[in-house]
């Protein structure tokens, strides 16, 4: 019997592990954090089994530590994400993401008559409820709720 070939994903020495990302939103997280434009070593796995999420994804980024305000940008697509900050191969710190009070970009306004859906305007929302998430558009003042939320 042949041994299955395995690609070993080594633990990172320094960096960040983002766990508990809903599998379907992995690429949105990558896009929001701009991971598709950096030169650091990144490994990700998706459609991994998770009791809580059904299928989850995980991202390991070597040599990158996020500021809270940056990492919180993924809260809309990965509200249950957990962060492990790795230093010298050990988990030095754990944290969770938190929905910020204001969201710039990322989300699309649900109102088809809103200026942000007509012209190149960066969307901006005030978060009126965090769980479930509900956003009030800075421009047309209409509410976009979790059910109608779509990511740009």
């Amino acid at each position: 019997m042949k041994e299955p070939k395995q690609l070993s994903v080594s633990a990172i020495q320094e960096g960040t592990v983002i766990d508990h990302i809903p599998a379907r939103n992995l690429f949105k997280v990558i896009q929001i954090l701009g991971l598709d434009h950096i030169d650091n070593q990144i490994t990700f796995g998706t459609n991994l089994e998770s009791k809580r999420l059904g299928r989850k994804a995980i991202i390991k980024i070597a040599g990158v530590f996020f500021e809270d305000q940056d990492i919180n940008r993924i809260a809309l697509v990965a509200p249950d994400a957990k962060l492990n900050i790795i230093k010298d191969y050990e988990v030095a710190e754990k944290s969770v993401v938190e929905v910020p009070n204001e969201i710039t970009g990322i989300a699309k306004c649900v109102n088809p008559k809103c200026i942000t859906n007509f012209e190149r305007v960066t969307t901006r929302f005030k978060v009126v409820s965090k769980k479930p998430v509900s956003l009030k558009c800075n421009y047309c003042e209409k509410i976009t709720d979790a059910e109608h939320l779509s990511i740009i």
């Binding site: 809103c114 942000t116 190149r120 047309c140 509410i143």
Partner: protein, 302 residues
């Protein structure tokens, strides 16, 4: 001075609203004042709204200001495909203040962000029309002598009616009680009722005029438009329910006044017009004074 625009009635504090109403009283006493001499105001109407535009232009003219602008998008560079951003940035160079009417919601907030001069929102789609709200507040205070503890009846299209939503939010600052009279299909949206409950304010819902109209301090009428109904039969059933007739006003308070943002079609019968309780035409005149107050305030004059 920091540039200040008026996009939504919520941009103003309660003190500022009162200050502007007081200032409008002064303009009512003395409407011709040369306060805008040497100033140029742009009136950019991306959709026609003759009433609002003339009211603004009258206010500007009586203050000695000059007006540039266009009356519909077809006669502007928009028809060549220019973006709102570009139009506003360009026009900012030519004037001291921009008055803008635009069919797209949120366009006014966006314009206020890209303009280098103050912007007054003269209506952005179904969203906001704060100068209408200011003239409504002025009319209410003038006819009732106060804004506090009034019983306001809102009648007609309460679902899509931008003016009634803004008026509701504004009057909630003065402990108003609300009565909503609307057909099932055009009821006041839940978000506004939730807002009132959170503020601890009372409201009552009805589907037709009843004897309770005797409690009204203000009856605010709006147009029930046929195109708002998904079922034309529904419209036919209700279209005459929301028509105010003179005979219905017998039991109302002597101080009660009827307001309407105009244009009226048939929702107020013309037999109401001679009744001293009919206030909708004077209401329109008050728009000139409140707009004079807002223009001078945003330009930092006086």
């Amino acid at each position: 001075m920091k540039k200040r625009s008026l996009v939504s009635i919520d941009d103003l504090t309660t003190d500022e609203i009162i200050m502007l109403l007081d200032r409008a009283v002064e303009f009512e006493k003395e409407p011709i004042q040369n306060l805008l001499e040497g100033k140029v105001v742009s009136t950019l109407f991306f959709e026609p709204s003759t009433r609002t535009r003339l009211s603004f232009e009258s206010a500007i003219s009586r203050l000695g200001g000059k007006i540039i602008g266009f009356t519909d998008a077809a006669s502007s560079s928009v028809s060549k495909g220019e973006s709102l951003n570009d139009t506003i940035r360009t026009v900012s160079n030519y004037c001291d203040l921009i008055v803008m009417r635009h069919p797209i919601e949120g366009s006014a907030r966006y314009a206020s962000e890209v303009a280098s001069v103050p912007v007054i929102n003269a209506g952005d789609g179904a969203n906001q029309h704060p100068t209408q709200t200011m003239l409504d507040l002025y009319s209410i205070r003038k006819t009732q002598g106060k804004l506090d503890n009034l019983n306001i009846f809102l009648v007609g299209d309460l679902k899509y009616g931008r003016t009634v939503h803004s008026l509701l939010l504004a009057m909630s600052r003065w402990n108003a009680t609300f009565n909503f009279i609307a057909p099932e299909e055009l009821k006041m949206p839940e978000e506004y009722k939730l807002f009132l409950r959170n503020q601890g304010l009372k409201y009552y819902e009805h589907t037709d005029f009843t004897d309770i109209v005797s409690e009204a301090d203000i009856i605010y009428m709006t147009r029930v438009q046929k195109e708002r109904f998904s079922d034309p039969m529904e419209y036919e059933k209700v279209k005459n329910v929301y028509v105010l007739r003179n005979s219905m006003l017998k039991k109302t308070k002597p101080s009660m006044r009827i307001l309407h943002p105009l244009p009226r079609v048939n929702e107020i019968h013309t037999d109401v017009d001679p009744n001293p309780k009919a206030y909708y035409f004077e209401q329109a005149l008050n728009g000139v004074y409140t707009r004079q107050a807002i223009l001078t305030f945003l330009l930092g004059i006086k």
